[in-house]
Symmetry: C2
Subunit: 351 residues, 2 copies
């Protein structure tokens, strides 16, 4: 199966110096992969030439010198930068030149351009940002992580449906357990928004297991954790903050004195294993689910291995044809809704 | 300075078997401390007798066999359990028999009984749950952690004022940096609630440093982090979940094979240091700020060292006389507000 991924090489904190080597790394792994490298040719060509073994025939460069910066306003990125590497990468997905695109650029701009160029599937009101997270028993998918900050209960129902479909496709789970992120205090359990969402999810055909608390995400209590983007983003970033703090504390403990330094050196196999398990790069690559095409967002600070991981996420979504899956599910739901409306209306019309 | 703390010995997952030894441990440390141990005398007496060196003269037992369970509805705990150990411990604060109380019981019940018995300071609409958290540079205070799930911007302003006063008193900071928890995506930065709160905080006399992201809490970006209780609880629990997961992963890496087991054993000084820094017990003890008396909530699963820490938090708040501090600040603010209202109204009255 020939897969073409468009890479916004100008995005992220390090631009082509990270995105191009990462893309070449994945290209070497996957013989069916073709790349559209979108960005400044003058910066891309030397990076490709640097590696003699690069399969040049599977690379096409889409040259542009315009790009979206991290500080660009979304409106500026959307309206005034129509030749940006981000925009052209998304256009390539719309035009069928690529089946997915990956960017480490400005999230707000990527979301806005993605919505504008690709549109949502019929029946989906808003796209969501979804990612996999490590848990004590494997991994879980969480959404929304910041695309929407004032969601309504029916949006969360859509997120839950999308999340369950994607988890099912990617992990081969038959009935992924869907949980609603909530706080655990009795009586004051959640607000009106949470309670209304809970009822919607209970009435759905999803394998809804009820509330999941913050610590439950990482305990592995659910396969899909659903929440509003504001809360999801805070949970994700707080978790990242703690992980970073713990890593810094381990380092500080090792550097305490010559004995701990020596012991730290000796314990290297433990750190190596831990790093592999915990490496944020291992889970890099958040999907903008709900759009008619695949758009994967990498962490802006991603290094080569980590950006490569975001590319692999995009490839996996192409292989599983996630957009077609979502389109089928939601258009069927839309038909059912319209049929129901028609059925309810027809007696009136008959009068 | 003689300090008396009322301890709800029946609260928490382990009841007297944890709370009594913890209380005795702190009693031995602090010669000025007196304890009211509130709970079942038949369970308390043997635990005290067990330790021969206990300064029996500084302990008073308030006997009751009723207690609030973790699954009790708040309404039941409040209305039907008027002789519960939790209720009597809070009553002791109201009646001046103790300057603070500590409980590891049901948070919702503790909050409701605390509000009902002790009331809030004039000028404070809602109490908040506040705790210290470790950061890369020391610690930060965060509130609200779950007392309120639908806060208004002016509530967050009050939380910020309370948080700054408490941080100033406990840490000796002159102008604690106050941050508002928010998400970092450009343009979609926060919702209307966040933006309105941001303006209120900017207009205040606080040392307000603007938005803090989830990872910024643990990076040490602010001394006081303010948020709605729903979001704060999710952030706190998610962080706990990640820390637990990382601890489990370190353990799994050590147990991988005989070599890693040996190396793990050798590296013991590193773990020991890490455990001391990260120990959740080191930060156990959340304050219900805004009430006219000191109420400290311990984690329900606290072990002896950890519950002792919650007691130390209560003692420190007594020493700094936090309630008087809050009362002074908010009654002055109330007077200023009334004076302003009067000044604005008088011309109308003169007509």
């Amino acid at each position: 199966m020939r897969i073409t991924v468009a890479v916004d090489v100008m995005g992220g904190d390090f631009g082509p110096s990270v995105t191009v080597p990462a893309a070449l790394q994945v290209l070497a792994e996957q013989p069916d992969l073709h790349l559209l490298l979108v960005g400044d040719e003058a910066q891309i060509v030397p990076l490709i030439a640097f590696s003699a073994s690069t399969p040049r025939a599977r690379i096409e460069i889409v040259h542009t010198t315009e790009f979206v910066t991290m500080s660009d306003k979304v409106s500026v990125a959307l309206r005034n930068k129509k030749q940006s590497s981000m925009r052209l990468a998304i256009n390539a997905v719309r035009d069928g030149q690529a089946q997915a695109c990956v960017s480490a650029g400005n999230t707000g701009a990527l979301m806005a351009i993605g919505r504008f160029v690709l549109k949502m599937h019929a029946g989906i009101d808003r796209p969501a940002i979804m990612t996999a997270l490590p848990t004590q028993t494997g991994h879980a998918h969480m959404l929304d992580l910041g695309a929407n900050v004032d969601s309504e209960p029916h949006h969360l129902l859509q997120f839950a449906e999308m999340g369950a479909l994607v988890a099912q496709a990617l992990d081969g789970h038959d009935q992924p357990r869907v949980g609603l992120l909530n706080i655990g205090e009795e009586e004051i359990k959640g607000n009106d928004f949470i309670k209304a969402t809970h009822e919607l999810l209970r009435a759905s055909s999803l394998n809804y297991i009820g509330y999941v608390e913050g610590d439950g995400i990482f305990h592995g209590d659910a396969d899909v954790v659903v929440c509003d983007g504001f809360v999801g983003n805070i949970a994700l970033k707080s978790s990242e903050g703690v992980a970073k703090m713990m890593a810094a504390m381990i380092k500080a403990q090792i550097n305490r004195n010559w004995l701990t330094k020596l012991l730290g050196l000796l314990a290297y196999p433990i750190w190596k294993g831990l790093k592999q398990e915990m490496d944020p790069g291992r889970y890099n690559g958040a999907s903008l689910v709900g759009l008619t095409g695949i758009v994967v967002k990498s962490h802006g600070s991603a290094q080569i291995d980590s950006f490569a991981q975001a590319l692999r996420v995009a490839i996996k979504e192409v292989e599983k044809d996630i957009p077609a899956l979502l389109a089928r599910h939601f258009s069927a739901a839309e038909h059912a809704k319209k049929a129901l409306l028609l059925a309810t209306e027809s007696p009136v019309e008959a009068v």
